[in-house]
């Protein structure tokens, strides 16, 4: 089969690989029909995540058709169209039994501090991902769902991560009616977090980025007020001005480890890997939220230390909430919202790229060229 393969920082190529075999009785092999590149993949692509091995296939956002199932699989059969959450999880460990699918204890031998994620380095379990023609899906009875008849394939692929994560991020904010919500980052996750904040009753939603074309999307798609932080000397002060000097009730960090806005922070973490992530947006969030407020972090950080302004968080009495999203837990409610027309996730898709050209897809998304917001990967379009 054809598969995307990592070749070292900033380098990937498409290779011929064996179709993955069944390794466990509850495995399925899925033929991928649509995959996506996520902002998280950029952290791998840039070589920031420890134990990212040459030869690994990335991709944790994918949908497809079941090709083969292991002997104990009951809920799926070959030919089923399925959407697969980015979490690999067992369904029955201490954490899964409490709904914390993204924190499963039975699927990541390499680390206890993170669960299993498809195609996301050995630190997240060493599973090959879905930017390929075929992928191994462990616990086929647990994670995947049949794609409902009425659902678009592109909406389904966005449900496997970006939409579920943005919606989860808004929930972590514990928004109450009328709250002012500030979202850092107008990527797919930030756009969905902003949009979801309205569903939870926000009174005001403000989105911050430095990419004008993404802020435009935040205004049209997510009905948000926007600020380009490059236009202000100090975006934190600007947020204070915008909130009558109290600060926002809730701030969501949808940027993560490669935040821009401070050359030294960015370069020490993103380029030279001296930090687990550049916490610029997180520090802005801590400073822009009001005392007693909530900071929700869905932007991803690596396992190493980062220079976070913890004293401010303490002295302001903040609530910090965060996690990798437990994706499938969000689905029933999100299915309703899509069906009712409140959400149309595929509105943010900008690029559809054949698997053979995936290296260009990574570059376009990473360098933010061509007004790229969300690139999809099409394994069959070669």
């Amino acid at each position: 089969m054809r598969a995307m393969v990592y070749r070292g920082p900033y380098k990937i190529r498409v290779e011929e690989k064996d179709i993955p075999p069944i390794e466990h009785p509850n495995d399925a092999i899925v033929r991928v029909t649509t995959a996506a590149i996520c902002g998280s993949d950029l952290h791998l692509f840039h070589g920031m995540m420890p134990d990212t091995r040459v030869g690994m296939t990335f991709g944790h956002e994918f949908v497809g058709v079941v090709e083969q199932v292991g002997s104990s699989v009951q809920n799926l059969k070959p030919g089923d169209r399925v959407m697969v959450p980015f979490n690999v999880y067992c369904g029955t460990c201490y954490f899964c039994a409490r709904g914390l699918y993204s924190n499963c204890h039975n699927v990541n031998a390499n680390a206890t501090a993170v669960g299993g994620i498809y195609g996301y380095s050995h630190t997240c379990g060493g599973y090959d991902g879905g930017q390929a023609e075929y992928v191994r899906v462990p616990f086929a009875d647990i994670g995947p769902s049949l794609i409902p008849e009425w659902m678009d394939e592109e909406d389904a692929v966005l449900l496997t991560d970006a939409l579920a994560t943005g919606y989860f991020g808004a929930q972590l904010g514990d928004i109450v009616e009328g709250d002012t919500v500030v979202v850092f980052g107008a990527g797919p996750v930030g756009l969905f977090a902003a949009k979801s904040s309205w569903l939870m009753g926000a009174g005001r939603v403000i989105v911050i980025d430095h990419l004008e074309y993404r802020l435009e999307k935040a205004r049209t798609f997510a009905h948000a007020e926007t600020y380009n932080f490059a236009e202000y000397d100090d975006i934190v002060v600007e947020m204070k001005k915008a909130t009558d000097y109290l600060g926002a009730d809730v701030v969501i960090d949808a940027v993560g480890a490669e935040a821009d806005g401070n050359f030294l922070q960015h370069v020490t973490s993103s380029k030279f890997k001296l930090q687990g992530g550049s916490p610029i947006a997180l520090n802005w969030a801590i400073d822009a939220v009001r005392k007693g407020g909530t900071v929700s972090v869905v932007g991803a950080y690596g396992p190493m230390f980062s220079a976070v302004k913890f004293g401010d968080a303490l002295n302001k009495g903040l609530t910090l909430r965060m996690n990798q999203a437990p994706v499938k837990r969000q689905w029933p409610r999100l299915f309703d919202h899509i069906r009712n027309g409140y959400l149309k996730p595929s509105d943010i898709v900008t690029h559809r790229i054949p698997l053979e050209h995936i290296a260009e897809g990574y570059h376009i998304f990473s360098a933010k060229l061509d007004n790229c917001i969300k690139p999809l990967i099409l394994p069959a379009a070669n």
Partner: protein, 191 residues
């Protein structure tokens, strides 16, 4: 407004927002939010028919975190550790917990060694690594590399110039060393 107990007045009322924004407030009640509360105990939640999953076969000694009691029943089988990078990775797993910076720094070092090992190996293969096609930079020409950046107030352009140096630098150095070595050989021959 002076600093008083009042919440700042809202620009738009809930009624206005409900009329303007599709779905405004449908999840106002925390009961409708799927991840509230954070933990919801339901051992049958996922329809699993096992207490503890069957164990996947371990086809090579699988490295694992020493913070785990045992090898997890299911694990990824991508890219087993190999070469010098593999030795470093196995050492890091065996010796250090996830709580130690040394664990992650060794793994990052192994990643860099791994890349060099594979680049070298690729040069004696039918498909040598090609930093031009593999970085996707050719899309700079087809996807408006210049107009995507110029006049845009983007702050990331202040460090994007580092990328070609980080990626291309080692190749240039290796190329330069190669040329110097060949020259020296030729000079040695002539004398």
């Amino acid at each position: 407004m002076p600093y008083t107990a009042k919440k700042p007045t809202r620009a738009r009322s809930s009624e206005e927002l409900r009329a303007a924004i599709p779905g405004w407030g449908v999840d106002l009640d925390p009961k409708d939010r799927p991840s509230v509360p954070k933990e919801q105990f339901d051992p049958t939640l996922n329809g699993a028919r096992w207490d503890f999953p069957e164990r996947q076969e371990e086809k090579w000694p699988r490295e694992r975190s020493i913070e785990h009691k045992f090898l997890t029943p299911v694990f990824g089988t991508s890219t087993p550790p190999k070469g010098l990078s593999g030795v470093i990775r196995k050492y890091s797993y065996k010796k250090y917990s996830e709580g130690r910076a040394a664990h992650w720094l060794l793994l990052l070092a192994a990643d860099r060694v791994d890349a060099v090992e594979h680049h070298l190996r690729s040069f004696v293969s039918l498909r040598p690594d090609n930093p031009i096609t593999q970085t996707g930079v050719l899309s700079e020409f087809s996807r408006h590399g210049i107009t995507s950046r110029i006049g845009k107030k983007r702050v990331d352009v202040n460090h994007q110039w580092i990328d070609p140096l980080l990626v291309g630098g080692p190749w240039l150095v290796a190329g330069g060393l190669g040329v110097a070595a060949v020259r020296r050989l030729m000079r040695l021959r002539r004398t």
